[in-house]
């Protein structure tokens, strides 16, 4: 059941209803263009009145997003989008609030707000553009850059362990986590639609390619030669099969997940793990979120989507309960005259 309190439209909206008149200033070839197109496509499908969309961002290349969408928009300060969006959404549950953010914005300077918004399960749609680099400041390593990565601020390679976005989200008790790649706009739209429907914080990690400062960071997943073997598209209730002819699959062995080939060692489709995105236990979701080449394919699509009360809904319920209680003050005059008062 959905707890959405956002007014729907009777109009047939199109992509054009959300296109802004601003010139898009991302670099030619940047993955963000495809993401923007996907989001413009998905907003009309969601079905809310166009005035009820609100896009809140921080700082970074991804955070220019609000200027390129014709919605209510707020381009704020570095790392704080999730905190600002929290205020917008808590105050008005009639808004569909979207946060485009990056691996620097949400996982470094805004890391605290990111984990707390997830923990509280506030109904925000967070799109985390992960390009494993700081683009706007021209090429320093980020919290998701792989260990040893040589960048302008790590000339001998980084000496710190990167975050895995999904691991952080699930550690913070995330109720919705999905992963997509920037070169598949249709698939992005499809996942975004699922994210929009979710009650609570949805995190969609978008593996995004920065053509200037980190070109090819996701090549080991996206290249034509490797992609069939290195990408697993998850579908709820379906076995986890991948490979050119879906000849490979994932099983749950004694030591965790394992890649197997159908037909080898008597393995049939029946042995393959079936994806259950609604499982309350995040154990398998965590294992899926952490999978990566060379030993595993990377998991794409909705990894976790579970029901849990949202903070915004619970807050409104507390207010309603307080207002219905005949013992509570009903106006400020009541309050001023409550307790010990006396006439002089």
């Amino acid at each position: 059941m959905s707890y959405k309190t956002i007014e729907r439209t009777t109009e047939q909206l199109t992509k054009e209803d959300f296109a802004s008149d601003q010139m898009v200033k991302w670099c030619p070839g940047c993955g963000n263009h495809a993401i923007l197109a996907a989001v413009e496509n998905v907003f009309p499908q969601i079905g809310y009145k166009k005035e009820n969309f609100c896009v809140v961002s921080g700082i970074g290349c991804s955070s220019r997003f609000p200027y390129y969408m014709n919605t209510y928009g707020f381009h704020s300060i570095h790392g704080r989008a999730n905190a600002i969006a929290t205020g917008v959404r808590l105050f008005n549950r009639g808004l569909s609030v979207w946060v485009p953010t990056g691996d620097g914005d949400s996982l470094a300077i805004g890391g605290n707000h990111f984990i707390h918004v997830i923990r509280r399960n506030i109904d925000l749609n967070i799109m985390l553009f992960n390009n494993e680099i700081y683009g706007l400041t021209k090429g320093q390593y980020s919290p998701t850059s792989p260990m040893g990565k040589i960048t302008k601020s790590s000339p001998q390679g980084t000496i710190e362990h990167p975050f895995t976005v999904g691991e952080l989200v699930l550690g913070a008790q995330g109720t919705f986590f999905a992963r997509v790649i920037d070169n598949k706009p249709q698939f992005i739209s499809q996942v975004m639609l699922e994210a929009a429907k979710h009650d609570g914080t949805s995190i969609v990690e978008i593996l995004q390619n920065c053509v200037i400062f980190n070109n090819g960071a996701h090549k080991y997943i996206t290249d034509k030669e490797v992609r069939d073997n290195n990408q697993l598209y998850l579908e709820d209730g379906k076995p986890m099969l991948f490979g050119k002819d879906k000849e490979k699959g994932i099983i749950l062995g004694n030591n965790g997940l394992q890649v197997v080939k159908l037909g080898e060692n008597g393995i049939t489709e029946k042995d393959i793990l079936v994806h259950d995105m609604k499982s309350q236990n995040p154990g398998i979701h965590l294992m899926l979120a952490k999978m990566k080449p060379p030993y595993f394919p990377i998991a794409l699509g909705v990894i976790r989507s579970v029901e849990s009360p949202t903070y915004d809904q619970l807050l409104d319920e507390q207010i309603k309960t307080a207002q219905e209680n005949p013992a509570t003050v009903k106006c400020v005059d009541d309050l001023l005259n409550s307790g010990d008062t006396w006439e002089i």
Partner: protein
């Protein structure tokens, strides 16, 4: 009551309750001040406690106190006390300097064992060595008597010993000629769900009262003049509660729901706690993960159409400065309440200071003017919180309200206003589908932009922290546009100077000496000036509430005096702001930075010493 007793008539008296934190001194103090107020006295109170919740037992560091000033006119808590109730040697040691010569000290002899004396730093017992001969000392076996009474009623030994504060309070009620009817009612209320605890406390209190009466331990009892206040309904209120209520009143008056995004911090936490109680008024209170999220959620709620506020103290305001700049450039109304404490850094968390003024005025990157107002007393916190919300919304500008630990936690009588009698508030809301709406179109007179709330039809727009072009608000790096926008944001605030209440003078409007104060020191400074004027000295006083901008008649007021003395609890932040604003005027300064309020005596001395 014994007829031998001398009755001393007094216009006001100061009583201070001190003991270990955990000895129930705050409870004793509040019960006493509420009783006095209900009996028709004016009151002012101030709690004084250490930063540690339960500091080491019997040490000077762990002393907690509550000072109460009752009588005819008590706009301050009083410099020194007439009666000190000290529960142990450490609290006596820490507070003896605050007792008037000849004052009464009530203390518990049971607490003066060798270990406690040593912990307090006494080499000899002050009750025996003659060092207290300038005072009237009463030191019965308080713990023993309280414990005995409470245990007879079935309390266990540990809890029974803790009723000693009630025994003392009973004695104090006796010497101030109060009967126990009111305190009993107050105890019933406080222990509503623990009737047996209320009964035991009442019995112990009565025992103390009777002990004082029958054993004639006191030579004299006081009769304190009641107050002649304007007619009306009154209550006792602390500055922090008044601040919370002022914000709620502004929300109701403006038709905008209240949002508070806040992170707990001493001494501002009570604002968060108070507002969290009032969900029935529709207030949305969000305890954020940090100070930054506190203000950022506030900015988000303001964008979404709330009367949005955040409450903090100095270290928190430091963390909020970047986001304050965002509120300035996006021209969103927010109220930031700073209950100032001693700084820098963690500083003196439970003590009071006025040292965040520079940060409130200038503590942001770029040219980022905020409105700044300062409350002058606990009850004034109500009006200034209301005022801050009104100014912020009507000017679409963040407003910083400066209070301090002293007025935030202190209390005084509050004449209850009617919400309908408070000024109207008109937020500049944009109309749905207004074809002429532009995010940065301004009212030509006030320079205020409109508030277009997400969800409203036909007003979709973008705002942000990048400089924006005049009118349409799109991103702009044009040099002349930037200059224009900077000036607009400044002038919008400056133009309030004619709309805020004009600066008033207490005393002659021109002459030799003008004493200047701002914020929470009003009571002490005005009392000092008044007492000197009563002795025939021609001294005037002006007190500032509107700090940025200052009222437009400020220069007119100041320049009519030959000498101006600016008194403040910092090293001279307001005086330097005055020097910067009025460079052709001469200012002298008197400053105190001890984490303590001014005393009237030291102010009188400073005014007397003026060059």
């Amino acid at each position: 009551m014994s007829t031998k007793k001398q009755i001393i008539e007094r216009e006001s008296v100061v009583v201070k309750f001190v003991g270990d934190s955990g000895d129930g001194m705050q409870l004793s103090g509040t019960l006493f001040s509420d009783t006095a107020a209900l009996a028709g006295n004016d009151i002012a109170t101030f709690p004084d406690f250490p930063a540690e919740i339960r500091a080491p037992h019997n040490t000077v560091a762990g002393v907690s106190g509550y000072q109460v000033h009752i009588g005819k006119e008590t706009r301050i808590i009083g410099d020194k006390c007439d009666v000190l109730v000290a529960m142990n040697p450490a609290s006596l040691k820490a507070n003896l300097k605050w007792v008037k010569m000849g004052g009464t000290i009530l203390t518990d002899v049971d607490a003066y064992d060798a270990i406690a004396l040593e912990k307090a730093g006494y080499t000899t017992n002050p009750l025996e060595d003659g060092s207290l001969s300038s005072y009237f000392v009463v030191s019965p076996n308080i713990t023993t008597m309280a414990k005995e009474t409470a245990m007879q009623l079935g309390m266990d030994m540990k809890d029974a010993a803790r009723t000693k504060n009630m025994f003392c309070l009973g004695m104090i009620y006796y010497i101030f000629s109060f009967d126990l009817g009111t305190p009993f009612k107050l105890l019933d209320k406080r222990f509503k769900t623990k009737k047996e605890v209320a009964e035991i406390n009442k019995k112990v209190m009565e025992k103390g009262f009777n002990f004082a009466e029958t054993l004639e331990v006191f030579e004299s009892i006081y009769h304190v003049t009641t107050v002649e206040l304007p007619k009306g309904r009154y209550r006792n209120i602390t500055g922090n509660i008044a601040t919370a209520w002022g914000l709620l009143a502004a929300a109701e008056r403006s038709g905008r729901k209240l949002f508070l995004g806040s992170y707990p911090i001493t001494p501002a936490t009570d604002i968060l706690i108070e507002l969290a109680k009032h969900k029935s008024l529709g207030a949305k209170v969000f305890q954020a993960e940090d100070e930054i999220a506190g203000i950022c959620s506030t900015i988000g709620a303001s964008f979404a159409g709330a009367l949005a506020c955040t409450s903090t103290s100095g270290p928190g305001l430091s963390l909020k400065t970047e986001a304050l700049g965002l509120a300035v450039i996006t021209e969103l109304p927010i109220v930031v309440v700073d209950v100032q404490r001693g700084g820098p850094s963690t500083g003196l968390p439970t003590k009071s200071e006025q040292s965040d003024l520079n940060m409130a005025l200038f503590g942001r990157n770029g040219e980022a003017p905020c409105i700044v107002v300062a409350a002058s007393s606990p009850s004034d916190c109500f009006y200034q919180a209301f005022n801050a919300a009104k100014l912020a919304m009507e000017t679409m500008t963040p407003c910083i309200l400066l209070t301090d630990g002293y007025i935030g936690q202190g209390s005084e009588l509050f004449r209850i206003p009617k919400v309908a009698d408070l000024p109207e508030i008109h937020p500049p809301l944009a109309k749905p589908n207004d074809p002429d709406y532009k995010p940065y179109r301004r009212n030509p007179e006030t320079l205020v932009r409109q508030w277009a709330i997400p969800g409203t039809e036909g007003l979709r727009h973008r705002i942000g922290g990048l400089e924006k072009s005049d009118l349409d608000g799109s991103v702009s790096t044009d040099p002349l546009n930037h200059a224009k926008m900077v000036n607009n944001r400044r002038d919008k605030v400056q133009r309030l100077a004619t709309r805020v209440p004009q600066q008033e003078v207490f005393g002659e409007e021109s002459g030799e000496i003008l004493v200047v104060s701002w914020g929470g020191t009003k009571g002490q400074v005005q009392t000092a000036v008044k007492e000197m004027r009563e002795k025939g000295q021609k001294i005037s006083h002006t007190h500032f509430t509107n700090i940025m901008p200052m009222p437009s008649n400020t220069e007119e007021v100041l320049k009519k005096f030959k000498k101006i003395l600016v008194c403040e609890l910092n090293t001279g932040q307001f005086v330097n702001y005055l020097r910067m604003t009025y460079p052709h005027l001469q200012f002298q300064q008197y400053n105190k930075v001890q984490g303590l309020p001014f005393t009237v005596e030291e102010l009188k001395q400073a005014i007397h010493n003026i060059q």
